[in-house]
């Protein structure tokens, strides 16, 4: 897995053609709400349990 592959997958998932350019000012003071963090943690736990089977 390379840096480019991570970026490509991210862009594909979000249906974007290029990475958005965000200024520091856009995220300064941005807090992650509890429900968003809870959703993230739940996905983290589930990704450990559900493995996708390849070949």
């Amino acid at each position: 897995l390379t840096e480019e592959q991570v970026l490509d997958t991210l862009l594909q998932q979000l249906q974007l053609s290029q990475a958005p350019i965000l200024d520091r000012a856009d995220v300064v003071g941005l807090t992650i709400p509890a429900h968003v963090r809870a959703q993230y943690v739940a996905l983290l736990q589930r990704s450990q349990a559900d493995r996708s089977r390849g070949k």
Binding site: L1, A19, L22, L43, L44, R51, S52, R53
Partner: protein, 292 residues
């Protein structure tokens, strides 16, 4: 005879009418836990048609001397209902006799996916007309396969299931790489740690909020190749390669700008982290998932 690990499983005849046979194979402990099924072959002995019957058929229907033989895997579901999956189908001639081989690898793959304790492997063999409509003949009635101990009582004509397997102790991967030992070209296939630092990536700056980085892992090293005799036997199997056989997704929190406002959003990227590395033959059958 051809594999490192070769087993013959004798089948039992359960039901038989003029066109359908149901074969049952007790399979538990036939496939070792640390083995990979390369191919399963069902061998049926086609009995010779008596000359008088053959002559009569040739006189009445000189242009059609074939029947369609179909192999299906039969699964008895928990509610007692049956479900069949088509495995192999081919035309056989009534003028031939002797052993006929059918590839039933997929049926055994399906059977391996059943919950334990697993029912025996049930294979339904149907002999049907080559085609329906005008010109259809009854050649199919002349195709008979020997049942258990019935082929004139002379030889082992009963149905056989051959399981060709590879022992993963030799032909498989070895789990995680030893962090103390450097991986060389000759090293055995293993999972090696690979940390991707998202904070150090320019494009991720101010965009990817979580995680700062993650252990992606990678599969490195090489796999033991089967002897050349097996490559001749199964030309469809390419070289065994060290590949990611199980992967996990990577959740992320990213910042999305919408209408001049930035808000955090959770997404999940599939197949980002390698969970398991395996040695797999390029071109090998990818097992179909068993449907409910």
């Amino acid at each position: 005879r051809f594999s490192q690990n070769f087993r013959d499983v004798a089948g039992r005849f359960l039901v038989s009418d003029t066109s359908t046979h149901l074969l049952m194979f007790t399979m538990e402990q036939r496939l070792q836990p640390n083995s990979e099924l390369v191919q399963a072959v069902l061998r049926l002995f086609q009995e010779p048609v008596p000359r008088t019957a053959l002559r009569r058929h040739d006189r009445l229907a000189p242009h059609s001397a074939r029947a369609r033989v179909t192999i299906e895997w039969l699964r008895v579901r928990e509610d007692g209902s049956n479900r069949t999956s088509l495995i192999d189908s081919r035309l056989v001639s009534i003028h031939e006799s002797g052993w006929k081989a059918f590839d039933v690898t997929e049926a055994v793959n399906f059977w391996q996916q059943l919950n334990r304790p697993r029912q025996p492997l049930l294979l339904q063999v149907s002999v049907q007309r080559e085609h329906l409509g005008p010109g259809a003949t009854s050649a199919h009635k002349l195709v008979r396969f020997a049942a258990q101990g019935t082929w004139r009582g002379e030889g082992p004509g009963e149905p056989q299931l051959e399981l060709h397997t590879l022992d993963l102790k030799d032909y498989g991967a070895q789990g995680n790489c030893d962090p103390e030992a450097p991986v060389t070209e000759g090293s055995r296939c293993c999972r090696q740690e690979l940390y991707l630092d998202l904070q150090g990536m320019k494009w991720a700056e101010n965009w990817v909020l979580e995680p700062p980085g993650f252990l992606a892992y990678e599969c490195v090293g090489s796999c033991l190749q089967p002897p050349e005799s097996l490559s001749i036997k199964w030309p469809f199997l390419g070289p065994r390669q060290c590949i990611a056989s199980e992967t996990a997704s990577l959740p992320m929190i990213i910042s999305m700008k919408e209408g001049g406002r930035t808000r955090p959003q959770v997404i999940s990227l599939p197949n980002m982290r390698v969970q398991k590395c395996s040695c797999a033959s390029d071109g090998a059958l990818v097992p179909r998932r068993l449907e409910p």
